[in-house]
Amino acid sequence: MTTVLDRTAAPATPSTLPAPLLRERGQREVFCGLTSIIWLHRKLQDAFFLIVGSRTCAHLMQSAAGVMIFAEPRFATAIIEDRDLAGMADLHDELDRIVARVVARRPEIRMIVLVGSCPSEVIKLDLSKAAERLQARGQHDGVRFLTYTGSGIETTFTEGEDRFLASLVAALPAQEQNAKPRLLVAGCLADVVEDQFRRIFTALGIEQVDFLPMRESTVMPSIGPSTTVLLAQPYLTETARLLQSRGCQLLHPLFPLGEEGTTAWLQAAADAFGVDPGRFEAITRPGRDRARIAMTRARSELEGKTLFLFPDSQLEPALARVLSREAGMVPIEVGTPFLNRQHLSAELDLLPTDVTLSEGQDVDRQLDRLRDAAPDLTVCGMGLANPLEAEGFATKWSIELVFTPIQGYDQAGDLAELFIRPLRRRALLQTGRA
């Protein structure tokens, strides 16, 4: 399929790409946005995600989450059937019936999120109307209804979170005039990381901090022109756009991965809130030192090792930046399903110039390039990992990078450890695999 070597096109932002951008439009081997429900539902503890989709969507969720979730999950699929399509059943009535069943089973739920899928979009089932109607009828008091799409024709993997957060933003109240400046951190972070950042912000004197998504759906921060936004994740294109349209100020620092990224990220907030440089230095110094020590240790195992990243989460450019600058790895190809040049401008500036940056995918060609490059470590999706291992390549599941807390100073070592382990394991095994 078509490959465009984009050497000339001038980017909209001042950032220049480190290398030619390879745009691919072939077969993609990635999850759809529904998958982000797996971490979103753990974060929002009183929310229920109801996918309106097909048996495929339900099967995807169960295969990606593993049947290993022990608690009853707070997500489910309303599976569209033949009679729904044939018009024998009214889809809205059916949805009402299913929502009632969910509420009856989980009375503690405070938010029900109707999640669109490819089938619901292709048949043009209007879920926002459904959500509005469910809300307006007031049958489920105290339950807020939201909707977004996680469909594979619209969203890739982490973009599901982006669309969800965008729908949350649309529901956030406007702040009062002359409201005090507030900081809003957007993007799912593990609770432990969120708590660390909150402590640091407090110590810096930034007291008014909200996190999006919040842990409880009933706590809705208000937003407006006195809100400054820090993105904790690089994949929030829609969310950021919507926040800006509500008057919020968006910062574009590095993402908080590794010592350098975390410092730059905190620094951006500190500058926006006029924090005294001496204070910033004093508060961040211990964390920076800890992260640097952890990274120095990691460097001894990762230095000079080549790295190939398949496109999955949009975290890839930021990961390549940390691993090359702080651990001495050598990225060969950095794939991303979508390259948001504006959000990533600071990241792209720091990437080595000889790296291949690819956007989109043509998986078979990419596998050809991988075999040619024969990297020491490959980050890829779960469908590709074992076949590559069988070919002799060390791999790391990309999904682990969104499940594992890797942001902030005290997780820099954990981040590196994720990449060290497959290499160390290869060195250990003396089994002469078949």
Binding site: E29, F31, T35, T56, H59, V102, C118, P119, I153, G383
Partner: protein
């Protein structure tokens, strides 16, 4: 619409993938959005396949919808043929592409590829994974095994039909049954779909009869081959010692071999293990069984006839074979549970109060929550269902494997007695677990063994509860149940020591 948290079966195109992945030299071009590529991980992670499934997904996007998704499909077909050079191709649509009505079969035909292309129509909003696998296999058999019926077939030759990729122990079952067939003097002509090429399918008519290992997958194809090529097929699925004997007798008859001589070849330890003294404690254990039709029906027979259990529940998610499951359930005095709603299965398990659950990974989770021992007997599969060691479910060795894997979750008989006898010993108290459960014994606050309290059950008075604890706990569950049933039957809301002994007297009459 159907509400599903977990599902027993994937969509029908995943069934088609199980056929494509099982076979050699076959490529599947699937018109589907990017997210549907998750299905690859079923094979590469759960089954630990060293190769990617032979599937090309078109991964069309929203922006393509207005434009030309059909063109994307055609490009994908042509590219797949050029890159993978398969012997044959199957083409079809997943749920989303089905709505687009691009007609993959027609598009592929228009390309004029140099290889045979088989078009699949798998209605995603109506059918499920096993049906999709059966239909795909049938379409392939129809396309490739439609030639003339050969003359002079060896009467003692058969095909083995049904094993697929991602099947519950299919890989090992095939090996076991091949060995068994060869040992009684039957030649195996073709095994399909697992390991077969399109060319192998053309050789199917050369066998005298067919062995159907998994009716869910192979029944349609076997019926077709019977009609077209006069090949009878086996009805018995050789899971369990009894079924194994029936199977060998059936095969010997079809092959024109001496039945007694064939039966003499079966060597299995399971019957002796079940007869040995240590197995006494298995008598009357209540088991709840749920799975695909074939495995559930087979499990019930083993449970009652070969282990002396009491079958207290039997069901299946395989609607296509509901009639067989219902008929089987009747012989155990039960009403079969036919559902694909796992919440309904959970309710049935609670109501049946089993001491052992034989089910799928789904029931394993339910059993874990209820603290009832459990063994997995059927798909849907999990990485644990592909053990490194050889562990078939079928044939003589399968019977052994089943004995071990069902009995192991229950406590060994002697061990149970000892624990009962030394119950008050300071190290042998109720909270202590057997040593093989050592890590779990740290948390002694867990409630005692299986204890499922249905709503509205009579309450236990303090003293009755402590009296109950004095009863050795390998019979305590039964005592508890009997007493509660007695109390309910007699309209008592509280169980006292009196009630306990009244019930004991009542049931020992």
């Amino acid at each position: 619409m159907q509400l599903a948290m977990w599902t027993y079966e994937g969509p029908p195109h995943v069934g088609a993938m199980r056929i494509a992945t099982a076979m050699r030299g076959l490529h599947y071009v699937l018109h589907a959005p990017q997210g549907d590529t998750y299905a690859d991980l079923l094979f590469t992670m759960i089954e630990r396949d060293a190769k990617r499934p032979p599937v090309t997904y078109t991964t069309f996007q929203a922006r393509d919808l207005g434009a030309d998704t059909a063109a994307i499909f055609k490009t994908a077909c042509a590219d797949a043929e050029a890159r993978f050079k398969p012997d044959a191709m199957i083409v079809g649509a997943s749920c989303t592409a089905e709505l687009l009505q691009d007609d993959p079969g027609g598009l592929a035909a228009a390309l004029g590829l140099s290889i045979p292309v088989v078009a699949l129509e798998l209605p995603s909003y109506q059918k499920k994974e096993n049906w999709g696998a059966a239909e795909t296999f049938y379409r392939l058999v129809r396309s490739f095994a439609a030639g003339p019926t050969p003359e002079g077939r060896n009467p003692a030759s058969c095909n083995i039909l049904g094993p697929t990729a991602l099947g519950f122990r299919h890989r090992d079952d095939v090996e076991e049954i091949c060995q068994l067939l060869v040992s009684i003097g039957v030649t195996v002509n073709v095994v399909a779909p697992l390991g077969a090429s399109a060319h192998d399918l053309t050789r199917l008519p050369q066998a005298a009869f067919n062995v159907v290992l998994y009716p869910e997958i192979a029944a349609t194809s076997a019926s077709f081959l019977k009609e077209r090529h006069g090949q009878p097929f086996t009805k018995t699925v050789p899971i369990g010692s009894g079924a194994c004997r029936d199977f060998v007798a059936e095969v010997a008859q079809l092959a024109g071999l001496d039945v007694e001589a064939a039966l003499a070849k079966i060597q299995s330890r399971a019957p002796w293990y079940a007869a040995s003294i240590d197995s006494n404690y298995l008598t009357g254990k209540r088991v709840f069984i749920f799975g695909d039709a074939t495995h559930a029906i087979a499990a019930a027979r083993i449970a009652r006839d070969e282990l002396g259990f009491t079958v207290c529940g039997l069901g299946s998610y395989t609607r296509e074979f509901a009639r067989d499951v219902r008929a089987a359930a009747k012989t155990y005095g039960l009403e079969a549970l036919i559902t694909d709603d796992h919440l309904e299965v959970e309710d049935a398990i609670i109501a049946a109060q089993p001491e052992l659950v034989l089910g799928t990974q789904m029931e394993r989770h339910v059993a874990k929550r209820l603290k009832v021992p459990c063994a997995v007997i059927s798909s849907p599969v999990h990485v644990q269902d592909f053990p490194a060691r050889y562990s078939p479910q079928m044939g003589p060795e399968g019977a052994n494997v089943i004995f071990d894997s069902w009995v192991h979750p229950l406590m060994m008989g002697l061990e149970e007695h000892l624990l009962g006898m030394f119950r008050d010993d300071f190290e042998f108290h109720d909270g202590a677990n057997p040593s093989h459960l050592a890590p779990a014994s740290q948390k002694t606050s867990e409630p005692e063994a299986p204890q499922i309290v249905p709503p509205g059950a009579p309450a236990w008075a303090q003293d009755a509860e402590s009296e109950l604890k004095k009863i050795p706990f390998f019979v305590r569950g039964k005592a508890r149940r009997n007493t509660e049933r007695f109390a309910t039957d007699h309209g008592l809301s509280t169980i006292t020591i009196e009630t306990l002994y009244d019930a004991k007297a009542h049931y020992s009459r």
